[in-house]
């Protein structure tokens, strides 16, 4: 079998519209990172490496049979939850949170695994139960979701917990969660907000209060929001031009290659750039929803919906936070922010989505 044939075979399970848009985003990421990283070539190559690895993973995962994905759902979920329990007992404390786990030379953040494992698990659950679905199944699925969310929230990492909760909720929602249950739980959630406030850590409360009035503590909790708003606001309509943003280059902007990279983008490319970037994200999301609509079976449908909408959630939460309309939570901007794990999770998700949608799944039973 020649290389040409291998490539041909690998390429047959890809969704080209989605792939091309993701590639444009990756290219954009390199430009933005070159500027945000103060024109460091090393930094640029590192991000290139991250994206390349994530891209290869996407192509490989897209070629895995959905049967394998289905059979991986339970072990991945159980393993992920066990690791979370491990973190709770043996994890390293970094910045006051217990999020990392040492496995020999490897240091992993198990909550990242759950971002994939939870939608996979719930999609598997509803897929296998689709013929005999009862009301109680939503309860079981909700419990399967609540367990890891609770563990992550306790680390404490409220941001990631909410993202995992969202990814699971999307599955439940598209699995036909009855409207009365949906509305009921929404009311319940609203009513429990004061309780949540009570159990929140001081720094979490601070972040919420800061959103309401960042100028209260301009050098403390409000600093991120003020500086990123200044960066985006000073960009104006057309922006200051690539490599010309002063906020990031003079280090006024904290975390300007990772979570706050969008402020650099906004400063250098202005409103026009922002809207174009947002349209690109919107196109990816719409393509994801179209794939969801066309999905050949329950598993593909639920997985695609969850992955697409989680992607949307990342984009919205990150941009909302950097633009100053959402509280500061540690969520990177998909594909643009610097980092390995985050890009990997996103492209892994899209890979699974392509696999589920391009393979013929004959009902084995």
């Amino acid at each position: 079998m020649g290389i040409k044939r291998i490539l041909l075979k690998l390429s047959s399970h890809l969704d080209y519209p989605l792939l091309i848009m993701l590639l444009i985003l990756m290219l954009l990421s390199l430009f933005v990172q070159y500027s945000a990283g103060n024109e460091s070539t090393t930094h640029l190559l590192m991000q290139g490496g991250n994206l390349l690895i994530a891209f290869v993973i996407l192509v490989l995962v897209a070629n895995i049979s959905p049967w394998h994905l289905l059979s991986l759902a339970v072990p991945l979920y159980v393993g992920g939850v066990l690791l979370l329990l491990g973190v709770a007992t043996f994890g390293d404390v970094i910045n006051g949170s217990r999020r990392w786990l040492h496995l020999g030379v490897l240091r992993i953040q198990p909550s990242e695994i759950l971002k994939i494992a939870v939608p996979l698990m719930l999609a598997w659950y509803f897929h296998t139960r689709q013929a005999t679905l009862r009301l109680a199944d939503y309860g079981i699925a909700a419990t399967l979701l609540a367990l890891p969310v609770f563990l992550v929230a306790r680390q404490p990492d409220l941001g990631t917990a909410l993202l995992i909760a969202a990814s699971g909720f999307y599955v439940l929602f598209f699995a036909g969660l009855p409207w009365r249950l949906f509305l009921g739980s929404a009311v319940l959630a609203g009513a429990s907000l004061p309780l949540v406030w009570h159990f929140m850590h001081d720094y979490q409360k601070q972040r919420l209060l800061t959103l309401l009035d960042p100028t209260k503590d301009p050098l403390g909790a409000g600093y991120h929001i003020i500086q990123s708003s200044i960066a985006i606001g000073s960009g104006g309509i057309l922006g200051e031009g690539w490599l010309q943003g002063t906020q990031a280059h003079l280090n006024f902007l904290p975390e300007h290659t990772t979570d706050f990279v969008f402020a650099v983008f906004g400063e250098e490319f202005g409103l026009l750039g922002n809207i174009l970037l947002l349209l690109l994200y919107l196109a990816i999301i719409l393509r994801g929803l179209i794939l969801t609509d066309r999905a050949p079976n329950m598993f593909a449908r639920l997985l695609s919906a969850s992955i697409t909408l989680s992607f949307f959630t990342y984009v919205f939460v990150n941009m909302g936070m950097v633009s100053g309309i959402l509280p500061v939570v540690g969520v990177p901007l998909p594909m643009i922010s610097y980092g390995g794990t985050a890009q990997l999770i996103v492209l892994l998700g899209f890979g699974m989505m392509m696999s589920a949608n391009t393979h013929r799944m004959l009902n084995k039973s």
């Binding site: 689709q130 013929a131 005999t132 679905l133 009862r134 929602f173 598209f174 036909g176 500086q227 708003s229 200044i230 960066a231 985006i232 606001g233 000073s234 960009g235 104006g236 309509i237 002063t246 906020q247 003079l250 280090n251 006024f252 902007l253 906004g266 202005g270 409103l271 922002n274 809207i275 947002l278 994200y281 919107l282 999301i285 719409l286 929803l289 969801t292 609509d293 449908r301 919906a305 909408l309 949307f312 919205f316 941009m319 909302g320 633009s323 100053g324 309309i325």
Partner: protein, 631 residues
């Protein structure tokens, strides 16, 4: 089993799924529209605000304080200079609990209660300053300790700053004055004068003395650096630079060694001395005792030090040389004698008989001579040598107060001398017009008589006496006294010598003046009132002694110094110039409650003249910090 299974209809399933998909898609679009709305708000509607903030973030103007001008004496001995030292400074607006922060600093470096007091005092005085010093003069090690702990001490900074220093301490303290921290009043003054911009970044200003009167020259011009800074406040790129221009260097007429000798000569006495170059009006020495150490004031004086200085009955902060006016006493007599000659009321040879008092015809009130039995037959020469009071009672009565006033005012009595310092007193040269304004009462002839011997309403500062004496010495030229001789522009190096400023010329025919000067020379010779102080000088001295009454003595009482409270004893006054045949230096000395002018004030004048004319020091050369030898 089948009964428990909910059969789901495929088509309803799918249409419900589609509906949910559409709802979610709509949700996505709404969420993104929200983002766009926010961007429109900050990138278009408030774009300018954020742009300004970004610029303010980026560009900062750093003022560079100029070096303050150095002050030296006529021989180049430094009287005021600058040095750089580390200070630890607090920014109260960034600190929630000042006491906690100060305690934390006190764990690292020694902070005395005095430091704390000073800090809170300057905090109360200065609202305009972002940061205030807690302690100055940190050692390198102390500065490093603070710097290493800065991360846990928000609002605390270590800065290298320039400090004023007066290396000679108390010497010439009054005339030098001192700089101290700018306060709200100073800033208001600078702002109304349009000079505040030049004080950006500066924190000291001249408060008294030369430091105050020459502030505009000494301060220099503030420079600035316009820099692009990063978030840490580190300058990244220099955008514009304007170097500061140091303040001008001032050279005084003063001889600081002579100044020190004169100060020492006062011993424990309160008083003042002014020595003037008779040709230029340059101030060679200007003493006010007791003095103070101007270095205490630079960083805000400690309240204990301040109370000690401010509440002392000796008033050490007052410059007696120009802010205290005393009766001239008998030192007015040479000027009175000249007035008699000028108006033709007396000739030098004309004599009077002194029975020991003067009385108006038909009056039993006696204006007593200091010698109870009188001086017998007295001509003008003798009247000065023995300081005969009766002679001058009669002369005053013959002249009348208006002529006395008109003649004496030529010498600068009753008028500010115009010295280059602020706060000078004008003294009093009485006249009926002055009295009318002062008390709405008519002038009485008896007051004229008293004024004839420099008592009554007469008041003059030691500076005025010295200026008047200098104009006797130089033949009638009244000079404006000046402390600063030369101004050196530290930027261009251009030297500017300040010319002597002539205030007026008095018509003193040489023959008339010779009578007076000859008599004043004999004052220092056997038979004169100042013989003790000037015996054996290799140069000729012309002098006149005086005693200025502090309290009146009733008609039938006698003055006994020992019976009086020390602060009620007479002040001793002496004026002198030398060499009498070719005058160079004129001196006026006042010793408060010192008694007789010849004995209390004479030796002080002698010490100054010996040094100035012979280069002789009465004691080992003064060394700052060295042991003080009594006179």
């Amino acid at each position: 089993m089948k009964s428990r299974v909910e059969l789901r209809h495929y088509h309803t399933d799918i249409s419900d799924f589609r509906r949910r998909l559409l709802i979610v898609a709509a949700g996505v679009v709404v969420a993104f529209a929200l983002l766009v709305a926010r961007w429109v708000d900050i990138q278009i509607l408030h774009h300018n605000d954020y742009l300004v903030q970004a610029e303010n973030n980026r560009i900062s103007l750093i003022p560079i304080t100029p070096n303050r001008g150095i002050i030296t004496d006529r021989n180049g001995r430094v009287l005021a200079n600058n040095y750089s030292a580390y200070t630890v400074e607090l920014t109260p607006s960034k600190i929630t609990n000042l006491n906690d922060t100060i305690n934390a600093i006190a764990h690292l470096i020694p902070i005395t209660p005095v430091d704390r007091r000073k800090f809170f005092k300057s905090l109360a005085d200065n609202h305009h300053f972002a940061s205030l010093p807690l302690r100055t003069h940190l050692t390198d090690e102390e500065a490093a300790k603070i710097a290493a702990n800065m991360f846990r001490l928000p609002g605390v900074e270590v800065n290298a700053r320039l400090f004023r220093h007066y290396p000679q301490g108390k010497v010439a303290a009054h005339l030098l004055g001192y700089v101290s921290r700018l306060n709200d009043a100073d800033i208001a003054k600078l702002q109304s004068a349009g000079r505040y911009d030049n004080y950006q970044g500066a924190d000291h200003i001249g408060k008294t003395g030369i430091e105050q009167s020459y502030e505009a020259l000494l301060h220099g011009n503030t420079g600035y650096e316009q820099v692009e800074t990063d978030a840490g406040g580190h300058a990244v790129r220099l955008l514009a630079h304007k170097p500061p221009i140091s303040g001008d260097k001032l050279t005084l007429w003063l001889d600081s060694r002579m100044e020190a000798i004169a100060e020492k000569a006062f011993g424990d006495h309160r008083g003042a001395l002014v020595a003037i170059d008779v040709h230029t009006g340059g101030i060679l020495a200007m003493v006010s005792q007791p003095g103070f150490d101007p270095n205490l004031f630079i960083d805000g004086i400690d309240s204990a030090d301040w109370d000690a200085l401010n509440n002392s009955p000796d008033h050490p902060l007052i410059d007696r040389a120009l802010r205290s006016a005393y009766p001239e006493g008998s030192t007015l007599k040479p000027f009175m004698a000249l007035a008699g000659l000028h108006y033709g009321v007396r000739t030098p040879e004309q004599t009077i008989y002194d029975p020991g008092y003067f009385a108006f015809p038909g009056s039993s009130h006696h204006y007593r001579d200091w010698a109870p039995n009188g001086h017998g037959t007295v001509d003008m020469h003798k009247s000065l040598v023995v300081s005969c009071d009766t002679y001058y009672y009669r002369l005053a009565n013959d002249l009348g107060i208006v002529r006395m006033h008109d003649f004496l005012s030529q010498f600068g009595f009753g008028r500010k001398t115009g010295i280059d310092l602020e706060g000078e007193k004008a003294g009093v040269l009485p006249s009926p017009a002055w009295k009318a304004k002062f008390s709405r009462q008519p002038w009485y002839p008896g007051e004229t008589v008293i004024c004839g011997i420099g008592q009554g309403y007469n008041l003059a500062t030691p500076l005025q006496l010295a200026v008047a004496t200098a104009s006797l010495a130089n033949g009638g030229t009244v000079l404006r006294p000046q402390l600063v001789q030369r101004i050196v522009d530290s930027h261009t190096g251009i030297t500017r010598d300040l010319p002597a400023q002539i205030v007026g010329r008095i018509n003193l025919p040489p023959a008339q003046l010779k009578v007076i000067v000859d008599a004043m020379i004999d004052v220092t010779r056997p038979g004169g009132t100042a013989v003790g102080a000037f015996v054996g000088t290799p140069y000729l001295v012309a002098a006149k002694t005086g005693t200025a009454q502090v309290v009146g003595i009733r008609q039938n009482e006698k003055y006994h110094a020992a019976d009086l409270d020390i602060t009620h004893r007479d002040h001793a006054v002496l004026i002198a110039f030398a060499p009498a045949d070719a005058p160079k230096i004129a001196v006026a000395v006042l010793v408060e409650n010192g008694g007789h002018g010849g004995t209390a004030a004479g030796p002080i004048a002698r010490a100054v003249m010996d040094y100035y004319l012979l280069g002789k020091s009465p004691a080992p050369a003064p060394q700052t910090g060295g042991p003080v030898h009594g006179h």
